[in-house]
């Protein structure tokens, strides 16, 4: 069980590193715009979710706590996406 937990934590870390490198690559290359913003913030959401579930151990908490924290994460990624995207869509 503990071994499984450690393996899950390490797998989450690997995915976090991978997504960070992809986001960094996008930012470093100067890739901007709607698609870049969407992918970068989706990656941030995915990273935050793995951290909550596997590092903060919300996976073992009740569904209510998971929903509450995921709502916070959704809010802090969707609102910056919306405020960055609206000017792009409006030209």
């Amino acid at each position: 069980m503990r071994q499984t937990n450690a393996r899950r934590i390490t797998r989450a870390w690997g995915l976090l590193v991978l997504l960070t490198l992809l986001s960094l690559g996008a930012g470093h290359s100067g890739w901007t715009g709607l698609t870049a913003n969407t992918l970068i913030l989706a990656a941030a959401f995915a990273k935050g979710r793995w951290m909550m579930m596997d590092f903060l151990k919300l996976r073992d908490a009740s569904a209510g706590w998971q929903v509450l924290f995921l709502c916070w994460l959704a809010l802090v990624t969707i609102i910056p996406w919306a405020t960055a995207t609206l000017p792009l869509l409006l030209g």
Binding site: R2, S23, K47, P80
Partner: protein, 194 residues
Amino acid sequence: MDAANAMNAAQEDRPWGALSDLPGHPMMWVLILTEVVTFGLLFMTFAVTKAIHPGLFAAGQAQLDPVLGGLNTLVLITSGWLAALAVEARTIGKRGTARLLLGSAMALGLVFIAIKIAEYAAKAQAGIDLETDTFFTLYFLLTGFHLLHVVLGIIILAAVALSDSIVNLKTGTAFWHMVDLVWVVMYPLIYLIG
């Protein structure tokens, strides 16, 4: 009567109500909830102000180094990984391994601080400070406030490494993961999205 006794027993089992379901001491989760709400409001402020001044924020962001920010993200998530493994090691009784992992997590926290100070120094050399414009006021406010949490997080990790009961480790690392989580959102918000 039986129902009243059952309710009393349930309250004794879960004296903090729903907070008792979370790992570590419930008071830490009160702090974590307060912090995520505070940082959430700061993120919204940044995002909305950016929508009002898109040109100013684009110019400010162009003066940041996304590689340094990304490097700090890698440093912090690796530190969080080591802290999470420390709890697993302590749970199976490997106290020495847990302390070593916590020490490594703290060392990476210090690396984060060093990189952030180097970044601030580069900004100072370029003549950029808190009063340069709205973008940099918010940049220094958000990253500086987060940096204070990194410092506090290292102190908390050191305290739980010394007093290393399982519940203390869960409590201390929960704060550290919150600091990590906040940065994972802050990095793309400030450095990457255009």
